[in-house]
């Protein structure tokens, strides 16, 4: 559900569009998606409802869809913060993208997502991700949550 190829550190991107495209492209290559354009539409539709920039410079674009083959979480840290959505003008430099299949077999990945969502509200957790120097380090931090819920 977390994998190193979906951890992007210091991406030099400064628009929602570019960030979504980069992550979705990778998720598609890794076979998480059966139809990347449908997935992207779903993510954007969710953004239309309410922007997923939640403050603390974090955005969590996400979508639950049957074009998701396996649940995944991607993490991107951008080199500079940028405005995620002009409706609330929140700037972000942390992006967590979440994909969940429509019909989820078990609850474990949902538990992971709820655990990570809660963790993101904690400053020390965000700081640890902010100071991660390598993708391995960032990956280990995220994976430790997975371990803690028994996933």
């Amino acid at each position: 559900m977390i994998e190193k190829d979906l951890v992007f550190l210091d991406a030099d991107l400064s628009s929602r569009e570019a960030v979504l495209d980069t992550i979705i492209e990778k998720a598609d290559q890794l076979n998480y998606l059966s139809d990347k354009s449908v997935f992207k539409e779903g993510v954007l539709e969710r953004e239309e409802t309410i922007p997923t920039s939640v403050g603390f410079k974090v955005a969590i674009p996400h979508c639950r869809s049957d074009v998701v083959n396996h649940p995944f979480v991607a993490f991107m840290r951008t080199t500079q913060d940028f405005i995620w959505d002009t409706r609330n003008n929140e700037t972000v430099d942390f992006i967590f993208m979440i994909g969940v299949p429509e019909s989820s077999g078990d609850n474990l990945h949902l538990k992971f997502l709820s655990a990570i969502s809660r963790k993101l509200m904690k400053e020390e957790f965000r700081d640890s991700l902010r100071s991660a120097k390598t993708t391995q380090e960032a990956y280990d931090i995220l994976e430790s949550i997975n371990q803690s819920i028994g996933g």
């Binding site: 969710r46 309410i50 997923t52 939640v54 979440i98 538990k111 997502l113 969502s117 809660r118 509200m121």
Partner: protein, 104 residues
């Protein structure tokens, strides 16, 4: 002061739990008693019992969808907010909840 609440968002994947965390830390910071139920994709967790409702001074409903069991809170002072507000504006939201108990 005992604050109880429910959080719920359209997809039930992330905001529900972020809002729970924010409300809990804010209540903890103030030394309040609290219990926040989540109605998310996992279902209902940390469910509020009759006794919880009975002993609560105020209810915060940080929900952006229709929730189950809202009738449980009938007669209690209730603050309604979007689930986002419980994340981005939690301090003022809890302030408002406290103010409501003082007016009633």
């Amino acid at each position: 002061m005992k604050i109880i609440g429910v959080t719920a968002c359209p997809t039930g994947i992330a905001h529900t739990y972020m809002a729970q965390e924010c409300l809990e830390s804010e209540c903890k910071r103030r030394g309040f008693e609290y219990k926040i139920e989540t109605q998310g994709s996992i279902g209902i967790e940390n469910e509020l019992t009759e006794a919880d409702v009975e002993s609560a001074d105020v209810v915060i409903l940080a929900v952006s969808i229709t929730i189950e069991g809202e009738e449980r809170f009938e007669g209690k002072p209730i603050i309604r907010a979007s689930v986002d507000r419980a994340i981005s504006d939690v301090v003022r939201l809890v302030d408002e909840a406290v103010a409501l108990t003082q007016n009633s």
